[in-house]
C-alpha cells in the first residue's frame, strides 16, 4: 500500500516534507522527510520527481540485523535492533531511506495509517494506493 504521487497536481510547495519532518523528527526540515519532491525549472521546462517508499521490501531482505519488517502495509524499523549500518540506505532503489542523528534507519511508516503528507498536500497530489484484494 504505497503512496501514490501525481506529478501534474504537484506545485512543489514542500508542505508534505514539512509535515513529515514535523511529525516524525519534531522539527521543520525538508531534508529529514521520508518523502522528497523536487519541482524545478530547467532549460527544457519543469522537472518534477518524487522519492517515497514504494513498499518494494528490498530493505527488509537486505538488513543484516533483521531490524526491518513489514505489516503488509508499510515497513517497520526495530530501532533496538538497528545498528545504523546503512545497508538499507544502499539497497533502497528510490534512495529515500536515511540514517538519523541517533544512527538509526528512517523509513516511511505511513504515519500509522493516515499519512501527514497526504493530509497536508494542498492540491491532492499525494494519495494512498489501496490494492483491492482478489475475492476468491
Amino acid at each position: 500500500m504505497p503512496l501514490m504521487f501525481k506529478k501534474s497536481l504537484c506545485t512543489g510547495c514542500k508542505l508534505c516534507q514539512l509535515a513529515c519532518s514535523a511529525t516524525h523528527e519534531k522539527a521543520f526540515n525538508p531534508e529529514k522527510a521520508r518523502i522528497k519532491i523536487t519541482h524545478e525549472y530547467r532549460e527544457d521546462g519543469i522537472h518534477v520527481t518524487s522519492k517515497h517508499c514504494t513498499f518494494c521490501k528490498k530493505c527488509e531482505a537486505a538488513c543484516p540485523e533483521g531490524a526491518i519488517s513489514n505489516n503488509g502495509v508499510n515497513m517497520i524499523v526495530d530501532r533496538d535492533k538497528c545498528i545504523g549500518c546503512a545497508t538499507c540506505v544502499e539497497t533502497c532503489p528510490t534512495q529515500i531511506i536515511f540514517i538519523d542523528v541517533n544512527h538509526k534507519s528512517v523509513i516511511c511508516d505511513l504515519c500509522g495509517g493516515l499519512p501527514k503528507c497526504v493530509q497536508w498536500c494542498p492540491k491532492g497530489a499525494i494519495s494512498l494506493f489501496i490494492k483491492k484484494k482478489a475475492v476468491a
Binding site: 506545485t11 522539527a27 519541482h39 525549472y41 532549460e43 521546462g45
Partner: protein
C-alpha cells in the same frame, strides 16, 4: 528555538572578511522579521546619505521568523538597501525557496558591504560562508548563469539569487532573479549588486527549524489554513493567479493604457487571464505555499513562469501591445537580462508617447512591440536607444521634457493601476517609502472593487495609513501579499512560530513602527513632503472611458488629503514624524536622536 537564530552574517567584500554577529532579540519584538528587521539592520551605524552605488551601501538579506516553518506563503526573502533608482530605502522581496533556504542555513539575515576586486559570488551553507570567483558567469543571462553556477558548485539543490547583465551594467531598474522566474523586481537591487561586483548569492541549508511547541503549531496552522481557505482549489490566485486582475482593472477603468493616457484597453480580451490559461502547462508554488499562484506557460517561442498582472499591464496595454505571446517574450527577456518588467514597460511607454507627441524622437511608437523587445535587450547593455532608456523615466523627462506624463513617483515608474480610478491608490503611491509601488497599500480592492467611493479623497488618508501599517506588519512578520490575512490571525501565527503574545493591536503597531522607521530613513536621506507627489497628468487630464470617465482628480484636493494623512500619522506639516510619535511607537532612542539631528539641521538651513 530557532525560528529566530539571532544570527547575522556580515560580509565585507572589500576586505574579504566574513563574520557572524548577534541580532538583538529586542529587534524582533520591535520590527519582527524580513523587511522590518532588515530595515533596522541596515540603519545600524549607517548614514542614509550614502551613495547607493558606493561600496559603503549595504545589502541586507532578511528572512522572516515564519520562513522555513509550515505556515503557508511565509518564505519570502527581502533585500533592504538604499535604492540607486530612487535614493530612498528599498525593500524588495522575492518568493521561491531561497528565504527558507537561508533559515535552514542557520541565518536570519545577511549584510553585504564593500566591493569585491573582481566579479564574485557568495556561497553560504551551515558550515561555511565564502567569497568565490564568478568570472565564468560574467555577463551571462540569469537562466544560464543559474544552471552554470549550480554545476560549478556541484549541487542542484542550491538556491541562488543571480544578477543579470542589466545589474552588472548598473541599470537603475535592474532586478535580481532566483530559480529562473522569481524576481526581486523593484528598486534596482541588481545595480547595487553590480556595484559590489557581486554576480550571485548561493545558499544551501539543512538545519532543523524549531518552534516553541511543534504539535500545537501544526494544529493551529492547519486550522488557520482551513479557516482562511488558503488551499482552496477555487481560490482565484490558484485558478488564475494575478492575470485575473486584467479584467478587474479594465472594468474599473484603471488599466494603464498607452502610458496612462487611457484607463481601458480596447484589445484587453487578447491579453486577459483566459489567454494565458490556454497556454498554461503547470501550476507552481513558492516554498510552503498552499495557494500556488504561479503559472508556467509555453508559447511557440518561449516558456516562462508568468506573466504576472504587472507585466501584462506594463508590457501589454501600457505600450499598446495586444499580443499575449509577445508579453511572454517581454517577460522572458526582462527576467533573463535582469530587468524589472514594471519600470522597463514604463520607460518604453514614456518614450513611445514622447515620439508620438513629437517632443523627442526615440524612434518607437505605441504598438511597435518588436522594436520594444529589441529595446529591452539594448537597455540591459546600455546600447543605442537602450542607453537613454536605462536612465529611467524621471531622468529622461528631466533631459527631454514630457515631465507631466513621466509616470513615476520618487523616480520609480508606477505599476499597473491608474490612480484616477482609485484615489486612495494615489495617496499610497505618493507616500510609499520606496516610491511609486503597489506593495505599500492596495486600497483599489476596497475602492474600485469594494464599497468605498473611488473618486473622492474623503476618509482616504486614514484608510491608506491603516492599510500601509497592515501591509508592513504582514510582510515583516512573514506572509505573502496573496494571503488576505487579518492582524489577529497574523499575530496568532507569530505566537506559534516565535512565541510571546501578539495581539492584533501589537501587530498593527509593529507595522506602523516599521513604516515610520522607513520614513525617517528617507527624511535623513534628504526626502520631504516635496517628493510626496503624483505625476501632473493625473491631476490635469481626465480618463475618457470606464467608471472614472471625465472625473478630474484635482491637485488641491490631493494636497489636502496628504495634509490629513500626515496629521493622522502624527507627522508635522512637512510630513516628518514628530519626536513624540516616534517615542510613542517605541523606536529606539539612538535612532530618534540621529533623526532629530537631521530635522534640526533642516530647520536651520531653512532659517538661513
Amino acid at each position: 528555538m530557532n525560528s529566530f537564530w539571532g544570527k547575522l552574517l556580515v560580509v565585507d567584500l572589500t576586505n574579504k572578511k566574513i563574520e557572524t554577529r548577534r541580532i538583538p532579540e529586542q529587534w524582533v519584538e520591535l520590527y519582527s522579521g524580513q523587511k522590518g528587521l532588515g530595515t533596522r539592520i541596515l540603519m545600524e551605524d549607517f548614514s542614509p546619505g550614502t551613495d547607493p552605488l558606493s561600496p559603503e551601501n549595504r545589502m541586507v538579506l532578511a528572512t522572516s521568523i515564519m520562513a522555513g516553518t509550515i505556515v503557508s506563503s511565509s518564505s519570502k526573502l527581502a533585500i533592504i538597501s538604499k535604492s540607486p533608482q530612487t535614493g530612498t530605502i528599498s525593500d524588495g522581496s522575492v518568493g521561491g525557496h531561497i528565504g527558507a533556504e537561508l533559515k535552514y542555513a542557520g541565518y536570519d539575515a545577511v549584510m553585504i558591504t564593500g566591493k569585491a576586486d573582481s566579479l564574485s559570488y557568495l556561497y553560504i551553507d551551515p558550515d561555511k560562508a565564502q567569497i568565490r570567483s564568478a568570472d565564468e558567469i560574467k555577463g551571462m543571462g540569469t537562466f544560464k548563469a543559474d544552471e552554470t553556477l549550480k554545476a560549478m558548485i556541484g549541487d542542484d539543490q542550491v538556491k541562488i539569487l543571480i544578477n543579470g547583465p542589466a545589474g552588472e551594467n548598473l541599470v537603475p531598474f535592474s532586478c535580481i532573479c532566483s530559480e529562473r522566474y522569481r524576481q526581486l523586481g523593484r528598486g534596482g537591487m541588481g545595480a547595487v549588486m553590480g556595484s559590489k561586483n557581486l554576480k550571485a548569492i548561493a545558499i544551501r541549508g539543512w538545519l532543523d527549524v524549531n518552534v516553541p511547541d511543534i504539535e500545537a503549531c501544526m494544529e493551529i496552522v492547519e486550522h488557520i489554513h482551513q479557516k482562511d481557505k488558503i488551499t482552496s482549489s477555487d481560490n482565484i490566485m490558484y485558478t488564475d493567479g494575478t492575470p485575473a486582475l486584467v479584467e478587474y482593472c479594465q472594468d474599473s477603468g484603471l488599466f494603464p493604457t498607452r502610458n496612462f493616457q487611457e484607463g481601458t484597453f480596447t484589445a484587453y480580451k487578447n491579453i486577459r487571464s483566459n489567454k494565458f490559461k490556454e497556454i498554461r502547462t503547470q501550476k507552481k508554488a513558492c516554498f510552503s505555499c498552499g495557494i500556488a499562484c504561479g503559472n508556467y506557460v509555453k508559447t511557440k517561442t518561449n516558456v516562462v513562469e508568468g506573466p504576472e498582472y504587472e507585466t501584462i499591464a506594463m508590457g501589454g496595454s501600457c505600450i499598446g501591445n495586444s499580443d499575449h505571446e509577445k508579453i511572454v517574450d517581454f517577460n522572458v527577456f526582462c527576467d533573463n537580462l535582469g530587468l524589472d518588467t514594471i519600470s522597463t514597460g514604463g520607460v518604453i511607454a514614456y518614450m513611445m508617447e514622447m515620439t508620438e507627441k513629437g517632443i523627442h524622437d526615440f524612434g518607437i511608437k505605441f504598438g511597435e512591440t518588436d522594436k520594444a523587445l529589441e529595446l529591452v535587450k539594448q537597455i540591459a547593455v546600455k546600447e543605442g536607444p537602450g542607453a537613454e532608456a536605462a536612465l529611467g523615466v524621471k531622468a529622461l523627462s528631466e533631459k527631454y521634457g514630457g515631465r507631466e506624463f513621466a509616470i513615476q513617483v520618487k523616480g520609480m515608474e508606477l505599476p499597473g493601476y491608474d490612480p484616477r480610478g482609485s484615489w486612495g491608490m494615489g495617496i499610497s503611491y505618493a507616500t510609499a517609502p520606496r516610491g511609486g509601488c503597489h506593495m505599500s497599500a492596495y486600497p483599489i480592492e476596497k475602492e474600485a472593487w469594494g464599497k468605498i467611493d473611488p473618486f473622492t479623497f474623503k476618509g482616504k488618508a486614514q484608510l491608506v495609513a491603516k492599510l500601509q501599517n497592515d501591509q508592513f506588519a504582514k510582510f515583516s512578520m512573514g506572509v505573502c501579499d496573496f494571503w488576505p490575512i487579518n492582524s489577529k490571525t497574523l499575530g496568532r501565527l507569530f505566537e506559534v512560530t516565535y512565541g510571546g503574545q501578539w495581539s492584533a493591536e501589537k501587530v498593527e503597531k509593529t507595522g506602523e513602527r516599521i513604516f515610520n522607521l522607513q520614513r525617517i530613513f528617507n527624511i535623513m536621506a534628504g526626502f520631504s513632503k516635496a517628493q510626496d507627489t503624483l505625476p501632473e497628468r493625473f491631476h490635469k487630464e481626465v480618463l475618457k472611458d470606464g467608471p472614472p470617465k471625465d472625473i478630474l482628480m484635482p491637485k488641491q484636493d490631493f494636497s489636502k488629503a496628504l495634509e490629513e494623512y500626515y496629521a493622522f500619522r502624527g507627522w508635522d506639516n512637512d510630513g516628518r514624524p514628530t519626536k513624540k510619535k516616534l517615542m510613542d511607537l517605541g523606536i529606539e532612542d539612538k535612532l530618534i536622536q540621529a533623526y532629530q539631528q537631521t530635522v534640526d539641521g533642516i530647520s536651520k538651513t531653512k532659517i538661513k
